[in-house]
């Protein structure tokens, strides 16, 4: 962790492009903000590449003039115009469609943009921080990500470790989180032990959610084992000796808890049909959405993943989200 802090300090003092790599929930945006904060110039503009609508990318990034296209009732400045002189944070940059990759590359090369409907280019330069939970090198090899853009982004790469690979930090992280939020609670030894044994598929974000829940459920100053919602999965999986599914799936399994037990989905160790990771994931997402009453943010929290990641998964199932939500309300 010290090494990462040191690297943040170093790159923060510069204007070099940084690529952040790490699983969902490892705090990529936090690190990006820390890098920006080390030498704050201009604005920090987060751009969620996973949720950019392909047809509107240009207008979103470069802005547009009034009347540039049907529905453009007023002029609007784009995200990159706002980032001019500051920092643009491209979250989930691996999700950027190929046409958008070309456009972004051109902006980085030319350091100017032309709003949709305008004949004039305007200077636009910004510091680039990009984040991905994909292996971008692999994406380049498969031809899904442009090598020239990759090289522009990957000047300095920072790897954000998964929480399970640095479990020794858990006690400190929990204490820091409690303190920062003004909570006076303490962990019982059993809670700590369970936390150390768990694999934290949703990484720090999941840990924070978990502690938040424990605090909310506690009636005294301790965080109690019986309020810990992942512990049944741990014991289940230990006794059954089964192979772990894609880790974050099982978190939900228990968090969704009794509320979903009465629905048709089986619970516990039988919930994942062997060799059917896709459908298990699908089922988990479905249950999370049911528990959260169709609220994407809440469902993502239950799954211990980011809202964007959930949104992307939904898109990957080839469902459009509003219809999905309707389906849930009806069902």
């Amino acid at each position: 962790m010290l090494r990462l802090r040191e690297m943040i300090r170093k790159v923060g003092s510069s204007r070099v492009s940084v690529l952040l790599q790490g699983e969902s929930g490892t705090g990529k945006e936090l690190v990006a903000r820390a890098i920006y904060a080390a030498r704050p110039q201009g604005e920090f503009v987060p751009i969620d590449c996973g949720s950019l609508v392909p047809t509107l990318i240009e207008s979103e990034l470069f802005g547009h003039l009034r009347g540039a296209f049907t529905g453009a009732v007023g002029s609007r400045s784009g995200l990159l115009q706002t980032a001019h002189g500051g920092t643009a944070f491209f979250d989930e940059v691996g999700e950027l469609p190929s046409e958008a990759q070309v456009k972004l590359l051109r902006v980085l090369q030319q350091q100017e943009i032309r709003p949709v409907g305008s004949n004039h280019s305007q200077p636009c330069s910004f510091r680039v921080i990009a984040a991905t939970n994909r292996n971008l090198e692999e994406e380049v090899r498969c031809g899904r990500f442009r090598l020239d853009l990759y090289f522009r982004l990957n000047v300095v790469a920072l790897e954000l470790p998964a929480l399970r690979s640095r479990k020794e930090d858990i006690p400190g992280l929990v204490e820091e989180f409690l303190r920062k939020n003004g909570y006076r609670h303490e962990m019982t030894p059993e809670v700590l032990e369970a936390m150390m044994a768990y694999w934290w598929p949703g990484n720090i974000r999941e840990l924070h959610n978990c502690v938040d829940r424990l605090v909310a459920l506690s009636s005294d100053q301790y965080l109690h084992m019986e309020d810990l919602q992942f512990h049944r999965v741990l014991t289940d999986s230990r006794s059954a000796g089964r192979i772990e599914p894609e880790p974050w799936i099982s978190t939900l399994d228990v968090q969704a808890g009794p509320a979903t037990a009465s629905r048709e989905e089986p619970r516990g160790s039988e919930v994942i049909p062997a060799g059917s990771m896709e459908s298990a994931e699908f089922a988990a997402v479905q249950r999370a959405l049911l528990s959260a009453d169709g609220n994407l943010t809440a469902a993502a929290q239950l799954l211990g993943i980011g809202r964007t990641t959930l949104y992307r998964k939904l898109k990957r199932y080839d469902k459009d989200v509003p219809a999905w939500r309707d389906g849930i309300r009806v069902g």
Binding site: M7, K10, V11, S13, S14, R15, V16, Q109, Q110, Q111, S125, D148, F151, V155, V156, A157
Partner: protein
């Protein structure tokens, strides 16, 4: 019949150039031209940024093409620190700064690695290629 394949060409990965120049227009021009030739470019607006890249970039850096007079950390200072981090890196100074003065601050080794501004792109490319090819002879 196909021509025999030059193994040297096949096995050669594109060279990585660290371009350090505080004038954004010059930087852009060199970056674009070298990129067209298939070079990988890393660029920095001054020596301090270049050092961050030299320390933290995970891939190779074959040659640094650097201006001499720059804010924060200048060319000669950069090169001194850079050689400690990456001893094999080649160096080419590009500058309007008189060579004699440069030599004063860097020692006698700059004869082959100085290119007076203004220069044309072909000369720059020729000098970079020369320096990169000198690898084996050293």
């Amino acid at each position: 019949m196909a021509n025999p394949i030059d193994r040297n060409l096949v096995n050669r990965r594109p060279p990585t150039v660290l371009l350090v120049e505080d004038d954004a227009r010059v930087r852009k021009w060199i970056h674009e031209e070298l990129e067209k030739l298939g070079y990988n470019l890393l660029e920095a607006g001054d020596g301090a940024d270049a050092l961050v890249i030299a320390e933290l970039h995970r891939g190779p850096i074959d040659i640094v093409v650097t201006d001499v007079v720059m804010p924060r950390v200048d060319g000669p200072e950069l090169v001194k620190a850079l050689v400690a981090l990456r001893p094999d890196v080649k160096v080419l100074y590009i500058s309007g700064y008189p060579e004699a003065l440069l030599r004063k601050s860097t020692g006698p080794s700059t004869d082959d690695n100085y290119l007076q501004k203004p220069f044309d792109m072909n000369t720059l490319i020729a000098r970079i290629t020369e320096l990169l090819d000198s690898e084996d002879s050293e």
